[in-house]
């Protein structure tokens, strides 16, 4: 019962592994460009959970002192970057839709071959 009750780093690592594999599977199997973007968001969330779990369980602090919250700060940067990337990706997808009348990535074959 102890490993089940005593929540440790391994539990959060399992969640992060699940999410990252789900994100990669989503990126591989979706034809809708926004579906691929959702996969990228899943991977970024997995990275965020990873950062904060390691910060809580295995980070004694940096050498320069200060509170040991570097993992949380990095997860904040991940959120910021995910938002910025989603904005740019959606602007690109909107342009693509205006030109092709479809959001299907199979239609984006202009540079093929």
């Amino acid at each position: 019962m102890n490993p089940l009750l005593n929540i440790g780093l391994t539990h959060f690592m399992l969640v992060s592994i699940f999410l990252v594999s789900a994100g990669i599977a989503t990126m591989l199997t979706k034809r809708n460009a926004i579906g691929i973007l959702i996969g990228v968001e899943l991977v970024l969330n997995a990275a965020g959970v990873n950062f904060v779990a390691f910060n809580r369980y295995a980070w004694p602090g940096s050498a320069s002192g200060g509170a040991a919250i570097d993992g949380v700060v990095f997860a904040i940067f991940v959120v910021v970057l995910a938002a910025a990337e989603a904005a740019v990706a959606l602007a690109v997808f909107l342009n693509f839709y205006n030109n092709f009348q479809s959001i299907d990535v199979e239609r984006a074959s202009g540079l093929k071959g």
Binding site: L4, L5, N6, I7, H11, F12, M13, L14, V15, I17, L19, V20, S21, G23, I24, A25, T26, L28, T29, K30, R31, N32, G35, L37, I38, E41, L42, N45, G48, V49, V52, A53, F54, N55, R56, Y57, A58, P60, G61, S62, G66, A67, I69, D70, V72, V73, A75, I76, F77, V79, L81, A82, A84, A86, A87, V88, L90, A91, L94, I103
Partner: protein, 183 residues
């Protein structure tokens, strides 16, 4: 009698923490994999919302309350709304269902499972982090001010680079989404 009373609350806190962890972890993981298997883009957005909410719950359990609030406000309340706008603007009515063939789905699940197995193998075989002292902050710990000091102190360069990035993104997105002159 005193010993029993002192032992019982500690164990129940552990149990409640474990229960909450399993609740949020199951929500997050199931929603994440539901995104893989759903064919409807709107359903995928809802499952992503559930995943983000579950991750916010996990952040609360990891003593990162400020990050959990940021996750809910910026990620679930901003980025996800942006994605839903994108879904709305790029679909013909009724919502287009771009079907994927079964073999492609199996291949994707196989790759996802293989990556998951590889990561699990690496985690189980690794020695784990060297300093497992743990970090809960202690009494009188103000997380918001600690994050503020960290952003303006050791992580100043990353903070400034993120600010420049956001400016560039704003200009780029506004340019990409401009209304072109109809000839």
């Amino acid at each position: 009698m005193l010993n029993v009373a002192q032992q019982a609350p500690v164990e129940s806190v552990e149990q409640v923490t474990a229960l909450l962890f399993y609740l949020f972890a199951v929500l997050t993981c199931l929603s994440g994999w539901a995104v893989v298997f759903s064919q409807n883009i709107v359903r995928m957005s809802v499952y992503l919302l559930l995943t983000l909410g579950g991750a916010a719950g996990l952040y609360f359990l990891l003593n990162a309350e400020f990050l959990a609030a940021i996750q809910l406000v910026v990620y679930a309340g901003g980025t996800l709304i942006l994605i839903v706008f994108g879904v709305m603007l790029t679909s013909k009515s009724p919502f287009a269902q771009l079907r994927v063939q079964m073999w492609e789905m199996m291949l994707g699940v196989l790759v996802g499972g293989a990556i998951s197995g590889l990561l699990l193998f690496a985690w189980v075989r690794s020695e784990g982090p060297s300093a497992v002292a743990g970090n809960t902050g202690g009494a009188g710990y103000d997380q918001v001010s600690a994050i503020g000091r960290a952003l303006l102190g050791p992580h100043l360069v990353a903070f400034e680079v993120a600010a420049v990035l956001l400016l560039v993104v704003m200009i780029g997105a506004a340019y990409l989404a401009r209304r072109t002159v109809q000839r």
